[in-house]
Symmetry: C2
Subunit: 646 residues, 2 copies
């Protein structure tokens, strides 16, 4: 008998050679129907592979990322099988799972092409083969046999791949008539695949090498239920509508210019107001939380980054040094603000009494990304962090963590992110040597983070070995309105920079001590955050943030003066908006305001003018009736207070 | 007879060969006593030099910069004469006038030194020689004779200088026993010099070449009245106290770090708050004036600056291009924001109806300066401009100019700069070819500026030929509390960038037109402005700007709770300050608050607590008596409204 430890810590005994599927069956019939693969001591295995020794075992279903992965990898084989039936003589490159689905790189043969028009028949063939419930069969083969097989088949690509493999490690997987060189693992049979859709077709060089032959890359996605495919396609459609690049252009928030440079956003007036409001919001919250603002330059001497260690680690892959004309100097565009803040800390001696010191800066940093990697505002070459560095005593780490968590949660609430979890990244306890900092400090910091997260009632996942070499951290994973996950708001303990910059404070014992540093940025990058926010709310920003909170729409020219009076009154209370004085019909004005997603439309005509009132229309909600201007202001302000008051 | 035209335009007739002194005497006895030199057709001459033809003539006195210049140049000769008497065998390099006074570079001979201890005896000798009223005599000499003279004297430096001079252009000046190689001009005699003071002594390489011999540079200053020297020394003393580098450190406003780099200021928390307040002030005023904020990156592709023309003109003397690791790209740190703003203008078509468009950015720019040229915040390598660019139709230039002038004057008023003049820089009418832009546009813009300045009642000086090649401009020259002049607030018309960037708008005629661009920055550089402001107000910032507007000083621990209540109440009205809860005597607390220049000290003890009141003490004014907290707030707010409400 062997001992099988399950994720909940329970241990069960099975005969030697038990399979994942047998374990699932022993637990429940339902689980056995849904299980896709099994994780054994950290590696993913076929469900049919015998387990010969004591092991930690996790049964993987569609709800696990690794389960989905296996499902889509098997689906790539299914795609290949379908293609081989439809296009005899087709040759295959590689076919891995990706974030959403899978692809296969194929060589259709001289002069043959593949386009969207061919998708339907391939999808049909895939589903037909899936219904056959063909088993994915694993088979160990010798290198010689493998070479023989693909030589006979005439598949040069698989032969290429075989060259790099060692004899004794080679496996084939077969389902139906299709045989593939593959390390596995796979789901039990094709019957699990109930819905299939090809998504895209593109060119791809064999092995990513521009000098090699260009193959055809076919992207697809599959699901265990038809309903999930339908929902996925709907989400995709919605995501397209909400694409921040599209909305950013429509709402005139930002733009790019080739002459300025790729990945370097130009913030247009409305986008700048949005940014300024986010900054102002954070600035206010930070002042309240005891942060002190600082401003530092966007470059630093190379020496600064040699000291911090960044130059050694990232120098070659970064924007290259800036030389000066007459002097032997080198500067670097700053990739982060921490070294500058360390230098501010050092401008005078610090006492234990004044700690923690918290320096905050909306610091614009520049990091080189290859042009092909750039994407809207989510992947740029220059971005502004809502950065801060806390310098504290080791005994203050927990309290500071709690305060930062409070700040992050306040941000999430104010911006409508309600679905999030926290990941706590700790040291690998087996491999303490690779971390800098004393055992005592690590233990103190790790338990501080764990306790702080618990006290704030966060749902957490703890990952051993995921800490940076210089300290443990806590990340927030936020799920947006379309169910996509974003990492926002990292809190990172750092023992390294205080060491490298020789930071000190005078303790109560009058001796010199080293402070602990905490890096944190609730938004992270303002650019990326705005992109996520645009897509999360589909451009309907929270009222307090909206670039234009109201539009006053006079029914005709006669009411322009009254409209202006209402405008002036709202301005006094810092409510933002405009009067639409265009010579257009009221219907057109309302339509245009709806398209611009202005939250409140205030329509003024004769009746309103007589009563000092406005007819209020809310974006997406419709008519709210007539109210006096003061009533509107009161309603408006209570809406905002609801969100922003902690 | 010849015609002599005086600066007021009047023409007088004199015999051929008349001298500047004779003209002065013909005008008034007093002028003849005070005249130092004469400007003849743009060149400065000795007063004794005969004028042989019709000429424009300006008599120069101590009140003219060129008069002072001549006075100090002659004083350098007087210093040399004194040194030669006291240090026989001394050799002379060069001795020019400088901004405040003059210097002479001398070689005292092997092993001899000169220090502050020697100043007094040299000053006495100078005054003794001055009292002799020795005439400065001009003499034309052949190159051979000049070489002979200095060879005999053994002065290698003057021989060095002679090498570069052409025969027929060489003159000597002699006063008393001292003969110098000199182009002149000089004042009539040493008797004009009534006060002399040596200021400093330093090393200086001959001809600025580190490989040459190091000479001794002796700085001095002289005046036509003893009283003026006394006042100058007092101002100098006051300027030292107000030096922004000293106050910046004392008030913890900013710092520099060698590791970050020279000339790259780190703004400390209090300085950052000051900066933010200035920005907020300007932002508000700009929104009111119809500006739209934008944000652009701190780098731009080299192509951007090739288009703008900056690369060709300044590229070699700037921070060098930034390369990227994998791609053939080059970026430049942005030295100005205008090219970026042109690209924003181009993000969509513009109609004549939406002009003027005004893009404003607190844009941080980087310009290379040699390390030796750097000085506190006034000469830095990175600074933030309160920059904006107005894109308008040619017919809107005047109105826009008036609006910008209004904004600049609002800034001056809010910051206590009361003494300023405006300089209008126009085309050289004789040399129109060197300017870009049509005649019609230039005429329109120049008269727009002149009319705008007149309408705003500005005291102006008009300078022909001082316009940039791309447009006319208006500069403000501000005199600070110590009488020093600063150029603040430039408004510049630009026809060049719209051309280079091919900017357009669709006119009422449906055809494409080119907009005019106006550059403007009321503060100029925030860094330099803060430096000027610190020195202007000696660190006593205007109340609205003060980092800490009040300090609440509880008489003892017993009143800390009440102090906190007062603090909370003031916070509600956005009044900034702190409670001094240290365990110190009230006298000490007041002293410390005075040193930190906190405008209002609010002392709270038993009586105040009973009455919900505070005892108010104003910095530099003393006790204002007891008032309720609400009364204090009202007083405080009316003080601020006085300054800020336009």
């Amino acid at each position: 008998m062997i001992n099988i430890t399950l994720p909940d810590g329970s241990v069960r005994q099975y005969s030697k050679g038990v399979t994942g599927l047998e374990i699932a069956t022993s637990i429940s019939e339902g689980l056995a129907r849904n299980v896709l693969a099994v994780k054994v001591n950290g590696s993913v295995w076929d469900l049919s592979r015998p387990i010969e020794e004591d092991a930690s075992v996790q049964l993987l279903t569609w709800n696990d990322d690794l389960g989905k992965n296996t499902f889509w990898h098997s689906s790539a084989h299914l795609l290949a099988e379908a293609l081989e039936e439809l296009y005899p003589g087709i040759k295959f490159g590689i076919g891995p799972p990706v974030e959403n689905g899978f692809y296969y790189d194929v060589d259709l043969g001289e002069g043959k092409t593949f386009s969207q028009d061919d998708f339907a028949k391939v999808e049909q063939k895939m589903l037909e083969l899936a219904r056959a419930k063909n088993e994915y069969k694993r088979q160990e083969v010798s290198k010689a046999d493998a070479i023989k097989y693909f030589t006979e088949k005439g598949d040069q690509y698989k032969l290429d791949l075989l060259q790099d493999l060692e004899d004794g490690t080679i496996t084939f997987y077969t389902q139906g008539k299709f045989v593939d060189l593959c390390r596995g693992p796979h789901i039990p049979n094709t019957g699990f695949i109930k819905a299939a859709k090809l998504m895209n077709v593109a060119g791809a060089y064999w092995r990513g090498d521009e000098k090699s032959k260009q193959l055809t890359r076919i992207y697809g996605i599959t699901f265990p239920k038809q309903k999930e495919l339908t929902e996925y396609l709907e989400r995709l459609e919605e995501a397209k509508k909400r694409d921040h690049r599209k909305l950013g252009k429509e709402l005139e928030l930002f733009a790019f210019s080739e002459k300025v440079g790729m990945g370097l956003p130009l913030w247009l007036p409305k986008g700048t107001l949005l940014r300024e409001r986010l900054e102002q919001f954070m600035r206010k919250a930070q002042v309240k939380a005891g942060y002190q603002p600082v401003v530092t330059p966007h470059i630093g001497s190379k020496e600064l980054y040699v000291t911090s260690g960044h130059y050694e680690k990232y120098g070659a892959d970064s924007f290259q040094p800036i030389k000066t004309p007459n002097e032997n100097e080198e500067f670097l565009l700053k990739p982060m603000n921490c070294p500058h803040h360390c230098e501010i800390y050092k401008t005078r001696p610090r006492s234990y009494k004044e700690l923690p010191v918290r320096f905050a800066e909306f610091g614009t940093v520049y990091r080189y990304e290859q042009s092909g990697e750039l994407h809207g505002l989510t992947r740029v070459r220059g971005f502004t962090q809502d950065d801060a560095h806390i310098f504290c005593r080791p005994d203050q780490v927990k309290e500071e963590f709690i305060k930062v968590i409070d700040l992050v949660l306040y941000v999430f609430k104010a911006l409508g992110f309600e679905d999030y979890t926290a990941q706590v990244s700790l040291r690998d306890p087996e491999n303490k040597a690779k971390y800098i900092g004393s055992d005592e400090n690590w233990e103190k910091a790790e338990s501080a983070i764990i306790e702080a997260a618990a006290e704030k009632g966060l749902t957490t996942v703890t990952e051993l070995g995921e800490a940076a070499f210089y300290g443990p951290k806590l990340d927030f994973m936020v799920r947006d309105a379309l169910g996509r996950k974003w990492q926002l708001g990292t809190i990172q303990v750092d023992y390294n920079l205080p060491e490298r910059f020789q930071l000190e404070y005078i303790g109560a014992d009058n001796a010199k001590h080293r402070p602990v540093m905490i890096h944190r940025a609730p938004f992270g990058s303002l650019e990326r955050f705005v992109a996520v926010l645009i897509e999360h709310c589909g451009g309907n920003f929270p009222l307090w943030l909206s670039p234009e909170q109201f539009a006053i729409l006079p029914i005709s020219e006669k009411y322009q003066d009254f409209a202006q009076q209402v405008y002036d009154r709202l301005q006094q209370d810092d409510i933002r908006g405009f009067v639409d004085n265009r010579d257009e019909k009221i219907g057109r004005k309302i339509r245009d305001a709806e398209v611009s997603k202005v939250p409140y439309m205030l329509i003024v005509g004769e009746k309103e003018q007589e009563n000092g009132a406005v007819s209020v229309r809310k974006h997406g909600e419709g008519d709210l009736g007539t109210m006096t201007v003061d009533e509107f202001i009161a309603t408006f302000q209570s809406k905002i207070a609801e969100i922003l008051n902690n």
